[in-house]
């Protein structure tokens, strides 16, 4: 199987201040690196999960893939080409193939548009006005399991789960090959969360879709993804097949994240908290390994030298001087 999406050494940086102010204030680094040196490939028909805490750069990475934020290096290759470097027409065509499902569907749906307008808006944007929009709206609603009479509803008349389905329908409108879903289940109750994930799974099976799911919910990642990457301060700290990472996490951060998941069993309470503190500010990136300020296993080497990418197996890699897999 060839890769549908291939990201190599991608970097996204935002300027904190202008060059003159930075000079006046004596700032050495006026940039903030939100995504640093990220490489991965997604095979057609599979699900890739990006996991990380707030501020890890996972949403920025998702936006960079679809070209919503400019990149400062590296490449985004889709089906062998580099559409984001080939001018407007190529970008428009690319965005027909790749759809984005935004976080918080109620906020991302315009409150003044009906469901029909919302889910057929992509056709209008792409200049496909000659399509029968009523028929398309009915087709899309049926696809995501909503009754056809929802066409006349407004976002405030939808429940959280229904709004999420409308978001899925909108993403599916142009029959894309790849869907980037930013926190597809955040804020949903567990029973509804299952419905949305099952819908995504069914659509993947029926339409052969490829997903990049951005989430902080590891319990969900374990069930729905084939491959995953753990992000921290813009970098992939660990990357590999999902089941392997859950079984043999190499990076202490991954291990800490897994241990921080609450277990719904009163007999398995945790007495200690493995990961203390919070993610440092991106403007003050720690020297050496970025994670050393919170790492329970940090040593002198970690505070001085940034670890390079190392592999455990050909497709399982991490960035740690003292991986948990080394001891065994």
């Amino acid at each position: 199987m060839s890769a549908l999406l291939e990201i190599s050494n991608l970097r996204v940086r935002f300027a904190l201040t202008g060059p003159i102010k930075a000079r006046l204030m004596g700032l050495e680094n006026r940039f903030l690196d939100a995504v640093l040196d990220v490489s991965f490939a997604v095979t057609a028909g599979t699900t890739f999960a990006l996991v990380g805490e707030s501020g890890s750069g996972k949403s920025t990475l998702g936006r960079a893939i679809i070209g919503l934020v400019p990149t400062q290096g590296g490449s985004v290759r889709f089906q062998g080409g580099e559409p984001l470097r080939q001018g407007r027409a190529a970008v428009t065509a690319y965005r027909r193939q790749v759809a984005m499902m935004f976080q918080d569907p109620v906020a991302s749906l315009s409150p003044r548009l009906t469901v029909k307008s919302l889910i057929t808006e992509p056709f209008v944007i792409q200049g496909l006005k000659r399509r029968n929009l009523d028929a398309e709206a009915r087709r899309l609603l049926a696809l995501v399991g909503l009754p056809a009479d929802f066409v006349g509803r407004y976002p405030h008349q939808l429940s959280g789960g229904q709004a999420r389905r409308v978001g899925v329908a909108r993403a599916l409108a142009l029959s894309p090959q790849l869907i980037i879903a930013d926190e597809p289940t955040a804020g949903l109750d567990v029973s509804v969360q299952g419905e949305i994930l099952n819908l995504l799974t069914r659509l993947q099976r029926e339409l052969g879709l490829t997903y990049v799911i951005i989430t902080h919910n590891l319990a969900v990642v374990r069930h729905v993804s084939d491959e995953m990457a753990i992000m921290y301060m813009g970098r992939f700290l660990e990357h590999g097949p999902t089941q392997e990472i859950f079984a043999r996490a190499a990076h202490p951060y991954t291990h800490g994240l897994l241990a921080a998941q609450p277990r719904p069993d009163p007999d398995k309470r945790r007495d200690n908290v493995e990961l203390q503190g919070e993610v440092p500010s991106l403007a003050r990136r720690p020297v050496g390994c970025e994670f050393h300020t919170r790492c329970p296993r940090a040593r002198d080497l970690c505070r001085a030298v940034r670890p390079e990418r190392q592999t455990v197996t050909p497709d399982h890699s991490h960035r740690c001087h003292f991986p948990l897999t080394a001891a065994a």
Binding site: E53, V190, D265, R270, Q276
Partner: protein, 323 residues
């Protein structure tokens, strides 16, 4: 209810007046928070858990009408108290931590100003109040508290702000702390830290906590006693072990089955609860869960189930539990 309960809610029913008619938000809700314990209220959106916590604090909005029942705080009914009595209670004997610390802290006042303001009852010098605020910040894990008292809420991260909100809640050493989804806005690693903090604080301050969440994992981690709310009714309650190891109400069972963290075998097909939460403008006359219940039978649609005791502290509002 037990006499040593700090909070005891008996048969509480609350309606909201809306243009489309009254919404029956809570119906015949009874629960107790024994002194020194952590009681968890779990329920999905719209189950009435926030209404319950606001009612206990006497903070119900204007369009709410209490249709019956009592809320006893240390034996006195909160619902019949006047403003002065409520003010004496709130902040000192009971306190609340809200979901979003960015909206519950005042953005234009420094943390120090807010933390000394809420000690307005104490006859102490400003310096003393400030020292007390700093000590409490240190206790909840904020580094350099003396300096940080001069910072404003936006200068703290989300996790820090929630720690500050908890510190403010604990300043008056309350007998009861109500925490309404205190970790929903936080990452898992911070969530674990806050839960750990709440557990330690309970030990130190010997207070009781009413913990409201939709996250079963957190309830299992923290609580002694669990109350399951569905569409405004307590469908089941019991000790945390009774609820997690031997649920008797089909809704509790379904909720536990749906939690992906409890499913050991990896599966793309996750269990769900089919159907929707009933519209509380027209509450089903019989069992409120009957339209979605996998074990529904004819009696459920005809007759309202009572609360049946099924264990030492466990009861379920289900016909199946009556046998």
């Amino acid at each position: 209810m037990a006499a040593d309960s700090v909070l005891s809610i008996e048969g509480l029913s609350i309606e909201f007046q809306t243009p489309r008619g009254p919404v029956h938000a809570l119906r015949d809700v009874s629960l107790a928070v024994p002194r020194g314990s952590i009681v968890g209220i779990v329920g999905e959106s719209g189950s009435g858990k926030s209404t319950l916590s606001l009612a206990a604090m006497g903070l119900l909005p204007e369009n709410a009408t209490v249709r019956g029942g009592r809320i006893l705080f240390d034996g006195a009914d909160v619902l019949t108290m006047g403003t002065a009595q409520l003010r004496a209670l709130r902040g000192r004997r009971m306190a609340m931590v809200f979901q979003d610390p960015m909206t519950s802290l005042n953005p234009v006042l420094s943390i120090g100003a807010q933390m000394t303001d809420i000690q307005y009852r104490e006859r102490a010098s400003a310096a003393h109040k400030r020292a007390k605020a700093a000590a409490m910040l240190r206790r909840v894990g904020i580094p350099d508290p003396e300096q940080r008292l001069d910072n404003f809420p936006h200068e703290f991260s989300g996790g820090m702000r929630q720690r500050i909100a908890i510190a403010m809640g604990l300043l008056g050493s309350p007998e009861l702390l109500i925490a309404d989804e205190p970790t929903t806005a936080l990452d898992v690693t911070l969530e674990a830290q806050i839960i750990h903090l709440l557990r330690e604080l309970r030990r130190e301050f010997k207070g009781s906590i009413l913990f409201i969440s939709h996250n079963l994992g957190l309830i299992a981690e923290l609580c002694d006693h669990v109350v399951v709310l569905y569409a405004g009714e307590v469908v089941e309650q019991g000790t945390v072990r009774e609820i997690f190891h031997g649920p008797r109400h089909p809704y509790t069972e379904a909720l536990l089955v749906c939690d992906p963290a409890r499913i050991d075998a990896v599966s793309r097909e996750l269990p769900t609860i089919p159907g929707d939460v009933p519209n509380l403008l027209q509450v089903p006359a019989a069992c409120v869960f009957a339209p979605r219940c996998p074990k529904v039978f004819e009696r459920c649609r005809r007759e309202r189930p009572g609360d049946h005791a099924v264990g030492a502290a466990q009861s379920a509002r289900c016909h199946l539990a009556s046998a």
